[in-house]
Amino acid sequence: MNRMVLLTLCLALLTGCGSSVRVIDPTTDPAEEANFSSADYFEITDKMMNSIETNGFFELYRAEHGGEKPVLLLAKGLKNNTDEHIDTRLILEKIRTAMVKEGIADYVDDHAFDMALDQLNMQATDLYDNSKAAKIGRFVGAKYVLRGTISNLRKSGGREDINYMNVTLDIFEVETLLIKWTDEVDIKRASKRGMFR
């Protein structure tokens, strides 16, 4: 009997020592603090995409341009007015990915310009078969820009932290500066640390 108890204890100890890996769903990963979390990226993308799809501007554009999709450009990043170091470009890129996948719009790649220019210059040399080389002068200019701001208002005191975050995005027309779509997402979260650590 004593041996059984001893064996059980040893097994319990050994089990506790092993390392483990588990997969976490980033879309539902609960925030442990009041700070910006990975799930917020998904929440913002979902809400913004719903708004874009129901806005009507993109359908109207396609109707007026013979089914052609509008061409957009991403801003360098969201204007970060928070007190957290957030990868704001990721929010824009997630929305871009969703819009392209849904066939709502086309995007020009603002990061690929130098690379594309190098390739075009290279292919214009005699090193390449000129009949099959990529043609110069066919870059498409963006008519609209997706941009935005993320802000927060935090109240901290002792072990309690209350964080209100606001993400506002808009799409403006380059020619006219008119805002064609805009929406915002509010997130408010409070966390309280335990008294004992």
Partner: protein
């Protein structure tokens, strides 16, 4: 008699190295401008550090890395330290609290003073700005403003004047100007002007092309451990003992006669009352002249006196520190006089041992400067070469900083930061 001699030697010789003594080499190397040497020593300390000191060493390393221009690694150190200090704020570790009372006050994790918490973000702001990441600097600015609201703005007027951090407010205001947020900048500059009228700019103009030069001055005050140590024993009914006082190497011997209130038996009682003392380090530098593009542009003015803030904060906490020290001394003495019979002498031996090795908690952020000076002038857009002449009170140049090249955009604000040690040990 042998026991007496042993007790005297033990009280004089044995004792754990304090944080201040461990940091001495790294601190001296940093202030001498030997950043690599300071970092090498600090890395060694960090690898040997117990958990309770780990993030304090990270703070020290972050400061040195910032001074050495290693902005990325400075950011990592300062950010991780900030995160940890934020996590433990307002929380209690029972095991640490108990061992701090029974064994040593350094058993508890280091928790920075509130003004140090704000300075962490101020140095992070500098690191981001100097590496060209304006967005990152703005985030740190927002954190500074938030912490000023939590730790400083809620204080009464007297405390606020003593504990405010005008350096942090100045940095925040400068970034507000860069963003074109004049009103926000004005609020912070107004507060700077209330504390140091010469340091605040005469007017707020985001469209002015300006250069702001920040200069670390002097060395942060450090804490040292002071101990009153003693030994008592009762022999033939007579209470006899000796004391070692701080600053007095010779023991003071007492013969207290037949006192009945305190009754150690013939095994004797060793006791130590250890408390920290803050030591200022006087600088021979009297003024700082800023030279821009080879022209003596002017004298920097005092923007912040960190030393005074540290002393004010320390004095506010001194009461509770002394109570803690007295409690520790009492418990260790009681262990030797009251418990030993019940536990067969183990408590007596432990009480003696922990009494002998007792030291005060000397931990503090030791690579901070004593003061911060600022010089600001309107300039032309483009690249400028800046350096600082360090003058003594006779107006003689005793040291010259390295030369720094800085690019100032049209209608923008450029900054230059001369950290401690750039001119060697001055």
């Amino acid at each position: 008699m042998k026991r007496l001699a042993f007790a005297a030697i033990a009280l004089l010789v044995i004792g754990c190295a304090t944080y201040t003594s461990k940091m001495q080499h790294s601190r001296d190397a940093f202030y001498d401008g030997h950043y690599e040497e300071a970092l090498e020593d600090l890395n060694k300390l960090l690898s040997e550090a117990k958990g309770s000191d780990h993030y304090l060493y990270r703070l020290e390393r972050g400061r040195i890395r910032l001074a050495a221009g290693r902005y990325d690694s400075a950011i990592v150190d300062l950010q991780e330290a900030e995160e940890r200090f934020s996590d433990i704020e307002g929380t209690i570790s029972l095991s640490e609290e108990i061992s701090s009372i029974i064994i040593n006050p350094t058993m508890g994790e280091y928790e920075p003073y509130n003004h140090e918490k704000i300075l962490i973000n101020s140095y992070l702001l500098l690191a981001y700005w100097l590496r060209g990441d304006r967005e990152g600097a703005i985030v740190e600015r927002n954190r500074i403003v938030s912490k000023l609201g939590t730790y400083i703005n809620t204080l009464n007027e007297k405390d606020r004047d003593e504990l405010d951090i005008p350096f942090s407010r100045y940095l925040a205001a400068l970034l507000y100007e860069v963003q074109g947020l004049e009103d926000d900048a004005r609020i912070e500059y107004r507060r700077v002007g209330e504390l140091y009228p010469d340091a605040a700019p005469q007017a707020v103009n985001p469209h002015l092309t300006e250069l702001a030069v920040f200069i670390d001055a002097g060395h942060a005050p450090i804490k040292v451990s002071r101990e009153i140590r003693g030994y008592f024993e009762r022999n033939a009914g007579v209470l006899f003992g000796f004391f070692f006082y701080p600053g007095n190497e010779n023991p003071l011997v007492y013969n207290l006669g037949v006192v009945s209130a305190f009754s150690p038996d013939n095994l004797g009682v060793i006791f130590t009352f250890a408390f920290p003392q803050l030591i200022r380090d006087e600088s021979i530098i009297h003024s700082y002249r800023v030279v821009i593009d080879g022209i003596d542009a002017g004298e920097a003015v005092l923007l912040d006196d960190f030393e005074e803030t540290t002393v004010s904060t320390f004095n506010r906490k001194l009461g509770s520190i002394l109570i803690g020290a007295a409690l520790r001394t009492t418990l260790k003495t009681l262990a030797q006089t009251k418990l030993k019979d019940e536990v067969g002498g183990a408590a007596d031996i432990l009480g003696k041992f922990f009494s002998v090795i007792d030291r005060a908690d000397t931990r503090s952020w030791q690579t901070l400067p004593a003061e911060m000076f600022v010089y600001r002038l309107e300039t032309t857009p483009g690249e400028h070469e800046v350096f600082v002449r360090y003058l003594d009170n006779c107006g003689e140049v005793v040291a010259v900083s390295r030369k720094v090249r800085v690019m100032v955009e049209r209608d923008g604000k450029g900054i230059v930061y001369f950290a401690s040690g750039v001119a060697g040990d001055v």
